[in-house]
Amino acid sequence: MKKEKLKRWLAAGLVAAMTMTCLAGCGGGSSTDGDNGDSGEGGADGDGQVLKVAALESAYGADMWTEVAAAFEETHEGVKVEVTTDKKIEDKITPAMKSGDYPDVVHCATGRDAALTETLTKEKGLACLDEVLDMTIPGEDVTVKDKILPGFLDTLGTMPYNDGKTYYAPMFYSPCGLFYNAGLLKEKKWEVPTTWEEMWELGDKAKEEGIALFTYPTTGYFDAFTYALLESSGGADFYNKCMTYEDGIWESDEATAVFELIGKLAEYVEPTTVGNANDEGFTKNQQLILDNKAIFCPNGTWLPGEMADAPRAEGFEWGFTAVPAVAAGEKPSSFTFFEQLWVPAEAKNQELAMEWVAFMYSDKAAEIFANAGAVQPINGISEKLSDENKLYYQIYDNDAAVAVMGGFAATEPVEGVSMADSLFKAVDSIVSGDKTVEEWQTGVEETSDKLRDAM
């Protein structure tokens, strides 16, 4: 009897132990991780300041971040930088962020699928970077504000709330425009069009030879393209009104001209483009340029690197031009894409984080980035560019093209409504003929109305 009781208690004890270990195993994972990171590193260093940096591993690679971190540690004694890089950095850092463990600085551009930057912006979860602008760059005697190229700091791309306060630090800029095969145009003795009239003429000529005028990787690339068109259709003021959802702005003549232009361009799009315009097949659309099946493709300066190993037509040579102006007499324009670096409002080590942000604009850091192909928007950067890169970055030289910066203003999240869907994704429907230009335009104005209320 007694023995049986003992057995029973033993069994119960084992079950309880199993439960405990199981639960401990499930729940403990993240907390032990954090402990290791903090105490381990802290103990090894003098004053034990640890800066946690999370950065997107983009086409430029991850190595430059570790190099920059090492350079930062050199200038800041006793500081240890922990760099986390990943191609999907959002997936890597959000679980910890949701439990309150935030990185101190995050490099992650807007416009990505997971929309981490946008979400934190909409939730007012960013620290204001105004004080960084007045900081002297570590190891140099110039302020951040004076070193960043003019124009970069007064756009919606750095001041998402349009309130004069900077929340994003501009990183790695890259002009977006139309890429083409310069070799093909030379061979056929075609001129690079500078107006849309010339563009349509070229389109008709090329059509006779079985070459389409235009293709696009996915509709996502229509953002930079449309921004450039809007600017050259109505000027800077008009552009800002569009980006801040002014009532009726999308039904104005200037906006109508842009919608109609893209509607006409849709007739010149290479016929298989829509079939591959998704994340799986977009390189096939880019390949059309290399194969001389289409002439122009809107893209950014990362394109040649992305297609470096792809087969190409004989005599192929990358060409790059700004987007011709919509309104007569205006200059061509090009949207300047840049990525964003920001400090979460919940970051523990904000002071050091600000130092890090300032350091990004030092000559030292810029050089490390430039070696990986990433170009910082600072004075004197043109001397650090490779010859190939100079081709792209010179399109603004001598006032040849207007630089357009900054996208749509941030709003509170509006359920089921987004400009990306209404304005850009809809281009697929225009090309395939599932929507008319009028329907498209009405849809954009409706979206703009809803977003304005949430500003």
Binding site: R8, A11, A12, V15, A16, M18, T19, C22, L23, C26, M97, K98, D113, A114, A115, E118, T119, L120, K122, E123, K124, G125, T218, T219, P271, T272, T273, V274, G275, N276, A277, N278, D279, E280, G281, K284, P413, V414, E415, G416, V417, S418, A420, D421, K425, A426, V427, D428, S429, S432, D434, K435
Partner: protein
Amino acid sequence: MKSKRGKNGFIAVCILPSVILFIIFMLIPTVNVFKMSMYKWGGFSNNKTFVGMNNFKILFQDDKFYRSFQNSILLIVLVTIVTMAFALIFAAILSREKIKGQNFFRIIFYIPNILSVVVISAIFSAIYDPNQGLLNSILSVFRAKDAAPILWLGNQRLVVYSLVIAMVWQAIGYYMVMYMASMAGVPESLYESANLEGAGKIYQFFHITLPLIWTNVRTTLTFFIISTINLSFLFVQAMTSGKPDGASEVFLSYMYGQAYTNSSYGYGMAIGVVVFLFSFGLAGLVNLVTKREPLEF
């Protein structure tokens, strides 16, 4: 009396681990989804605003949601019917007929099931390629020389059917093996006597095989609903990303897009609640409709 209480206590202790795990990993998250669907929340900050049923009100006026819902239902219905028909036919042939290389076919049919969805998506993207794709190359034999290529993933009226084909291809092997397993349990004597009575193969299939594996078919119907809902999300993510212009969006991909890309986590959870109720209801309905007196053999 005392020993009975002891026994109950012992049982309680034994089931405690699974009850705790069930509560932590199933009940609490589910309750949370229901709770979050009544908040306006971006997913990170502490400012959650309670909005009651507002998310649902918006949802029922959201055309994009209706479109994704339609696509999901179309996928569930088509994938289930086509996969089930093929899987049953192949299973019947492979288990009842003597054909050469039976095991070979069994393996071939099962292979798609062990491939990851991403690999399958890559395969089908290659098949659907407008210029060099397998499908268009074959069809070009029957079509005029300068006919425009068919855009399997670019035509808004075709893209969902393109997904159906990929999903059916992926699922057939799994269900075929399941049906074969239960067909193996049907006694040979029944077929022998049916043969003696002069019943044909097709008659035997509908009057012996199908009724006797009916419980198995019913179970797989629930599997079909659950797996189509889940897999359609993965296929859409990997193959079309909802393009062109949202034409291939299914409700889970729309939910993901709203909860994350559009920073409307609460709204995403409202979609989650609808999906939850829908799949639960559908599974229940299918179970009810297909209820038969189980046949013994």
